[in-house]
């Protein structure tokens, strides 16, 4: 017998965008909200110190059962599938994109402009920062995007190490404390950061924002129903129409008992892979290549950013281990002004112990034991090491895709996604120039500090903070959905967060994904009654 769950709004996925969107909708709209999550609940806060310690001691996953078996996907895809999604592991780093990201075509003649401007998104950046509790400070205007209000929390203080490194970095560009969703003061019932320095993968005290806090609060207040261990396999249309009728799902413990989620509005918040994947899986006679895919854009323009990194030895006495996940940040090179050739990147500086670790052999290959080992270690800490890294903008090709993998299926025999990231032609042509420009910058930084590179800078092939697959556009020819995430093909189907991003910018993108989701909240909530407030 089929179980039917009815609601006003059915949100598919429970990651960070879903959590904060659900919170917003529950505050503003009088609506029954049901959230469907394929994974499990995560361990409670009280358990996290123990799980963290085992992660440190033995390398164990501090989030047991945070994924589904049988989901070995081809391409860049993180494994987390649980309540809170990948943001249970995240480092809590929350820069905004800069205005240039939204106008790359207009300003630099590359890529595409977004259908929204930085100014359109700014209020939702602020809202996202306030909901998460971001600690930060505004950088100088030539190097940081504008903001209308102060950060909700004071910036995390720089460590002694970062205070020493800041004047060195500022030989090149202005730097400031990296904005973070980590509490510098108590915030919404969560504790202050106490430098456990394992933000990623796990904060043991709850100082770092993670979506489980929101879900726990919403569930405790009866504002949402969160259904776990239930995988949505396809979306079905109302007979003879383009509206979504219901989601067909399978409960992992009762696979023989079908579950259907019926709702007035469906919100796809399943991240950059699973959102387009579900649309492709939901192909039918009316939409033979997948829902919301009349113009063939679902699963295209997958984006992200690559990085170049280096370690610089400097004549500074540093004490690595004070708070290694905190960094200095600059967006100076995200706001480059006029450019002969397009290169945009962020820049961050961390303390590091690279080059000054304890070792078993000296440079001559002699075994070091006891006093010799300690003396060698101590000698090599006389100079400090800084880690520097720049994410650079990679513009996506139309053929940068998520498709259905013909060779791999999940345990329910549905095709798994296949992720094939590809640079646009212009980005591919710029790649060597971009990476060389950043390497030269690192060399200049080393020279400016009378230091040297520990080893040649490394350009990573990995694309971080991926998004896209359901990019927003001004119409169906340019996007899968509008600025509010409403799909052009289905009036009651929205896509939110990472999949809607047009480009991946060149800094951590989670805050932007959430801001996009909150902006979408306006469109999603438009047809729902407002909450009646007690007089």
């Amino acid at each position: 017998m089929t179980t039917v769950v009815e609601s006003d709004v059915c949100i598919i996925g429970s990651g960070i965008t879903a959590a904060l969107l659900a919170e917003k909708l529950s505050e503003e709209r009088d609506a029954k909200i049901v959230v469907v999550e394929a994974g499990d609940d995560v361990p409670r806060l009280a358990q996290r110190s123990r799980l963290r310690q085992r992660s440190i001691d033995y390398g164990e996953n501090p989030w047991p059962h945070d994924h589904l078996d049988g989901y070995e996907v081809d391409g860049i895809q993180s494994r987390s599938m649980c309540v809170g999604g990948l943001a249970m592991h995240w480092g809590g780093v929350t820069p905004r994109f800069t205005p240039e990201d939204f106008r790359a075509k207009s300003l630099y003649g590359v890529g595409d402009d977004w259908p929204i401007s930085y100014e359109d998104l700014e209020p939702f950046y602020q809202e996202a920062e306030e909901r998460m509790g971001v600690a930060g400070e505004q950088g100088p205007p030539e190097a940081d995007g504008p903001r209308s209000k102060p950060y909700p929390q004071p910036a995390l203080p720089l460590t002694y190490n970062l205070e020493l490194l800041k004047p060195w970095g500022e030989e090149i560009a202005p730097f400031w404390s990296q904005p973070s969703a980590k509490n510098s003061v108590p915030y919404r019932g969560r504790a202050v950061c106490c430098r456990n320095d394992t933000c990623s993968p796990i904060c043991p005290v709850g100082a770092k924002y993670s979506p489980d806090f929101t879900w726990n609060a919403l569930r405790a207040a009866g504002k949402v129903e969160l259904v776990t261990r239930t995988l949505v396999r396809r979306l079905e249309l109302v007979r003879g129409a383009d509206r979504i009728s219901h989601a067909v799902a399978v409960h992992r413990d009762r696979p023989d008992e079908p579950v259907e989620f019926h709702a007035k509005t469906f919100v796809l918040a399943a991240g950059y892979v699973w959102s387009p994947h579900l649309l492709l899986l939901s192909a039918n006679d009316r939409f033979p290549t997948g829902l919301a895919n009349r113009t063939g854009l679902v699963g295209r323009y997958m984006n992200g950013h690559r990085n170049v990194s280096a370690f610089v030895r400097l004549p500074l006495k540093l004490y690595p281990g004070m708070n290694g996940q905190h960094s200095l940040m600059s967006h100076r090179f995200m706001r480059p002004g006029r450019l002969a050739r397009y290169v945009r990147h962020d820049l961050r500086i961390w303390e590091s112990s690279v080059g000054a670790e304890p070792r078993l052999r000296d440079d001559a290959g002699r075994v070091l034991l006891g006093n010799d080992l300690l003396a060698d270690w101590r000698r090599r800490t006389g100079r400090g090491t800084a880690r520097v890294r720049a994410y650079y903008d990679v513009l996506p090709h139309r053929e940068s895709t998520v498709t259905l993998d013909a060779d791999r299926r999940n345990p329910w025999r549905d095709p798994l996604p296949k992720i094939t990231l590809r640079d646009s032609d212009e980005s591919a042509a710029l790649r060597a120039h971009t990476e060389e420009t950043i390497k030269q910058l690192f060399q200049r930084m080393a020279s400016a500090g009378n230091g040297e590179l520990v080893q040649p800078p490394r350009a990573d092939n990995f694309q971080d903070h991926p998004g896209g697959g359901c990019r927003m556009g001004t119409d169906a020819q340019s996007g899968v959905c509008d600025r509010f995430g409403r799909t052009f093909d289905h009036e009651n189907l929205f896509v939110v967060g990472a999949p809607t991003a047009v480009t991946g910018s060149c800094c951590n993108a989670t805050l932007t994904f959430v801001a996009l989701g909150l902006m979408a909240g306006g469109g999603i909530g438009r047809d729902l009654p407002t909450v009646r407030r007690a007089m």
Partner: protein, 195 residues
């Protein structure tokens, strides 16, 4: 083998072999029972390879911590999976049985060459024996303790990653990976005198 309990050695060595054989069983969720490493031999080993300035208390603390760490080890536990990869991985087989056999081998060698247990040898002889064994390890950097092929490297690797070792090296109270006030991170870590 006058000063050595041969039967104990053989029993441990057999246990090590059995553990290696049953590593697949551990992966299937079976618990692996391992005895603690012989305390007196471990202490003698630690005295030979850890820095003198740890003092007897510091060396004993390192050995106790290592034994506790080893006792808590779970083979075939899922390891942290990073961003962007669909691959899962699991902790390797329990290193304890192999390491216990190495301690027994140290005793066996000490007995054959010098007529006494390893712990009764001078520190210089113990260090020489261990230096020769460690020289076989073709690594420059200290590995994760569980990846150490020899128990002596395992102990060194374990100690070197403790906050105490970092503090001692820098002669400063850095206390990495421990909960401490955020506001204090702006200050240079306090100097540790005599350390």
């Amino acid at each position: 083998m006058s000063a050595l309990d041969r039967r104990r050695f053989l029993k441990t060595a057999a246990g090590a072999a059995a553990a290696a054989v049953t590593a697949g069983g551990a992966a299937a969720g079976c618990a692996t029972e391992t005895a603690a490493l012989d305390p007196s031999t471990m202490l003698a080993l630690a005295q030979a390879i850890l820095p003198e300035e740890l003092g007897s208390d510091g060396i004993q603390r390192a050995v106790s911590g290592f034994q506790t760490w080893l006792a808590g080890y779970q083979p075939a536990a899922e390891t942290t999976h990073g961003y962007g990869t669909g691959n899962l991985d699991y902790t390797p087989a329990h290193p304890g049985p192999g390491w216990a056999a190495q301690l027994e081998a140290l005793n066996l060698e000490a007995d054959q060459r010098f007529g006494s247990a390893f712990a009764q040898l001078s520190e210089q002889r113990r260090t020489e024996m261990l230096r020769r064994l460690i020289a076989r390890e073709r690594v420059e950097r200290l590995p994760d303790p569980v990846q150490a092929r020899h128990v002596a490297v395992g102990l060194l690797a374990y100690w070197a990653q403790t906050p105490e070792a970092t503090n001692r090296c820098y002669q400063a109270k850095i206390d990495p990976l421990t909960c401490r006030p955020l506001g204090e991170q702006t200050q240079r870590p306090a100097t540790i005198r005599g350390g």
